[in-house]
């Protein structure tokens, strides 16, 4: 029985001509104990996927089963309750409340569960010890380094003992030392049996994952298991091997350099060719949207 089961989940944003298809009939199932890395270029639907998984957003179409329970049409308050009890969030921009101390921030989810002050601060304190932050309990977020703040945020995500931890680019704002600190912590948590889903742009970080999902234009284009401690095969292939030119690429003027994933590199290069490829993307999206409409 998978922990998470998405079937043909689509998500549309906007109205009329501004409609974008953020998720395009995505099917995905994740078992307990998996450590899933989600990769893909900006705008590929990674964050939307995570938001849907984290019950922050509702899919437009399709079904979502969490722990074998249908959750795609939950009311706001039920979703809030489920988020509180089963899901822990880690954000790229940390999202700790600046006016609260680290301890208060970590205890906040317990507050919403209605746990008394003494008990929740004790619990929060224990979790902070687990992430190595016990001597920073009474600091305010602005007094800490990025890596430390993210550790506090991880503690907050853990404090409710969630069955899934969802991290949207947890290392996106961190330097390499901070990234390592955070990823080591996440992998330690994973070893204790937690299910973690995280988005990353950094191919190196697939080393920590047990599975890598690649997304593009709202679809999962590649889904492969990977060994802990090794960079995922697809990434490696794209990183270390020369991509081949196809006739289509030639026609569209896509260079070999642009095909070298990571896609972030593509988006960074600002050649006139890039605009062309983007145009291609848009038209493809539109085609898909029409397809969704007709079904």
């Amino acid at each position: 029985m998978p922990l998470i089961k998405l079937e043909d989940v689509s998500k549309l944003y906007g109205f009329g001509d501004a409609t974008t298809l953020a998720l395009d009939e995505v099917s995905l199932s994740i078992d307990k104990g998996e450590f899933v890395a989600v990769m893909g270029p900006s705008g590929s639907g990674k964050s939307t996927l995570l938001n849907v998984l984290g019950l922050l957003d509702r899919p437009t179409n399709g079904t979502y089963r969490l722990q074998n329970r249908l959750v795609d049409r939950l009311s706001q308050s039920r979703a809030a309750k489920l988020r509180r009890d089963t899901i822990g969030f880690i954000f790229q921009s940390y999202n700790l409340l600046p006016k609260l101390t680290v301890l208060e921030n970590v205890a906040l989810p317990l507050t919403y569960k209605g746990i008394g002050a003494t008990k929740r601060f004790k619990q929060a304190s224990q979790i902070l010890e687990r992430v190595g932050m016990q001597n920073r309990e009474y600091y305010y977020p602005y007094q800490l380094s990025g890596g430390q703040i993210q550790c506090a945020a991880i503690a907050r995500a853990l404090v409710n003992d969630p069955s899934i931890i969802i991290a949207d680019e947890p290392t996106g704002n961190l330097d390499s030392a901070g990234s390592r600190l955070v990823m080591e912590l996440l992998s330690e948590i994973h070893k204790m049996g937690n299910t973690i889903i995280f988005v990353t742009h950094n191919p190196e970080l697939t080393k920590y994952a047990t599975r890598v999902v690649y997304m593009r234009d709202g679809m999962i284009i590649e889904d492969e298991p990977t060994m802990i401690g090794e960079v995922a095969k697809t990434v490696r292939r794209r990183l270390y091997t020369q991509p081949r030119m196809t006739a289509e690429d030639d026609l569209m003027g896509v260079s070999l350099l642009m095909k070298a994933v990571p896609d972030k590199a593509v988006s960074k290069s600002s050649s006139s060719k890039r605009t062309k490829s983007k145009k291609g993307t848009t038209s493809r999206r539109k085609r898909r949207y029409q397809k969704v409409k007709s079904t």
Partner: protein, 402 residues
């Protein structure tokens, strides 16, 4: 509850960070609550004073007035031009069982000239029993007696005495009214006077015997009221009923008079005061309303500023209701703090009034509790729209808002 105290903690922290904004927001509530309490306090103080006076001077006194006297609106006691009461009524009342004494009060205006001309006075024709009926002693001299028919005696109210004569003790001095010369027999002690009560009238009055008045007033004058002292205070209402019955007989079944117990007199006297109080409270309530709108405005701004925070709270599991409670507690904390400051200011104002004026405002704990409750209610009512708005935010949208 821990959650509630958490909200209050957050609310206080928010208030501290936005100190000026919170203070200015509270201001409306503070002013409103303070003015309502001060006004009620003053009015209550004056009412107490009037009631005390009524009971001091006419504890066992039934007041019979012409209905015309109460025709005026707002319960302001007025001197009627035409009275329905007659001398026959006076004599029937004096015969009723349980009545110790009764005095007619015939009120006439007119220029009175002694050493000086006194313009503020009224002439009241009454009988020798008046001091015993209204329980007031004389400062100097004596009240005219029934035996004293040879000359035209008069007794002066305290202010009338100083208005007519330069002399402090004008006993034996004379003054003229409508061409008739009167000799001052005595001066009444000053009545403790409050606005809107009969005592002001008494202090300015010149009392003369009914017999003298009859010759000078065409038609015998208008019988303003009849004061009736009863033997025993327990019989007050029974005697009042008997008086009513007797007068009904005299008036051929028409009840064009009223028989008032002391408590009713007090009520009548405070009528205009009540009206003024209600008016001013109404204005103060407008200030409270505006204060409430101010709170709503500031809370809406606060919600808009903190959308991201709302997003975070929702992402980690706050339900709509919990987010709503948080903002409601915040607006209520602001309004209650404002209310408490208002109560404090009102108490200070009360003290200042007590020390510097002869008003003695009385603020009782009920008013304070009501003041606090009203400010809390304002926080809840005007905070609810911003709170509902905050609660209704979609978590995703809220998180994106930085």
């Amino acid at each position: 509850m821990s959650l509630r105290s958490g909200y209050i903690h957050t609310a206080v922290a928010t208030m501290r960070t936005n100190r000026w904004r919170s203070l200015l927001t509270m201001f409306g509530i503070t002013v409103g609550v303070a003015s309502v309490i001060v006004i009620i306090g003053i009015s209550q103080g004056v009412k107490n004073e009037i009631t005390n006076q009524v009971y001091a001077y006419s504890k066992n006194v039934i007041t019979v007035t012409s209905k015309a006297a109460n025709l005026s609106n707002f319960g302001v006691p007025q001197i009627p031009t035409v009275s329905t009461l007659t001398n026959q009524d006076v004599s029937s009342i004096s015969k009723i069982k349980g009545v110790k004494a009764s005095v007619p009060m015939i009120v006439e205006s007119g220029l009175v000239t002694g050493e000086k001309t006194f313009r503020g006075g009224v002439v009241i024709a009454t009988s020798p029993d008046l001091p015993s009926v209204i329980n007031q002693s004389l400062a100097y001299g004596s009240f005219f007696s029934s035996a004293d028919t040879s000359s035209d005696p008069a007794v002066l109210g305290y202010n009338a005495s100083s208005g007519l004569f330069k002399e402090n003790v004008p006993l034996g001095f004379s003054f003229t009214w409508r061409g008739q010369t009167f000799i001052v027999d005595g001066v009444l002690n000053s009545f403790r006077a409050t606005p809107f009560s009969n005592n002001t009238l008494y202090n300015n009055a010149i009392f003369i015997p009914v017999a003298s008045a009859k010759q000078l007033i065409p038609g015998g004058g208008s019988l303003f009221q009849i004061l009736v002292r009863v033997d025993n205070s327990k019989d007050l209402s029974q005697v009042a009923a008997r008086i009513s019955a007797a007068l009904l007989r005299n008036h051929g079944g028409q009840s064009n008079f009223s028989v008032l117990l002391p408590s009713q007199v007090a009520q009548n006297n405070t009528g205009i005061l009540n009206l003024l109080t209600e008016l001013t409270i109404g204005i103060a309530l407008i200030s409270l309303f505006v204060g409430g709108v101010g709170i709503m405005n500031v809370m809406l701004v606060s919600v808009a500023e903190r959308i991201h925070e709302i997003g975070i709270r929702k992402a980690i599991g706050a339900s709509n209701r919990q987010v709503m409670s948080q903002f409601l507690v915040e607006s209520t904390t602001v309004s209650i703090t404002g209310g408490l400051i208002g109560i404090g200011l009102a108490l200070i104002a009360d003290l200042v009034l007590k020390l510097s004026t002869n008003l003695s405002p009385s603020i009782n704990w009920e008013i304070i509790v009501i003041g606090a409750a009203v400010s809390m209610l304002i926080g809840i009512v005007f905070g609810s729209i911003p709170a509902i708005r905050a609660a209704g935010k979609e978590p995703i949208e809220a998180l994106r808002n930085e």
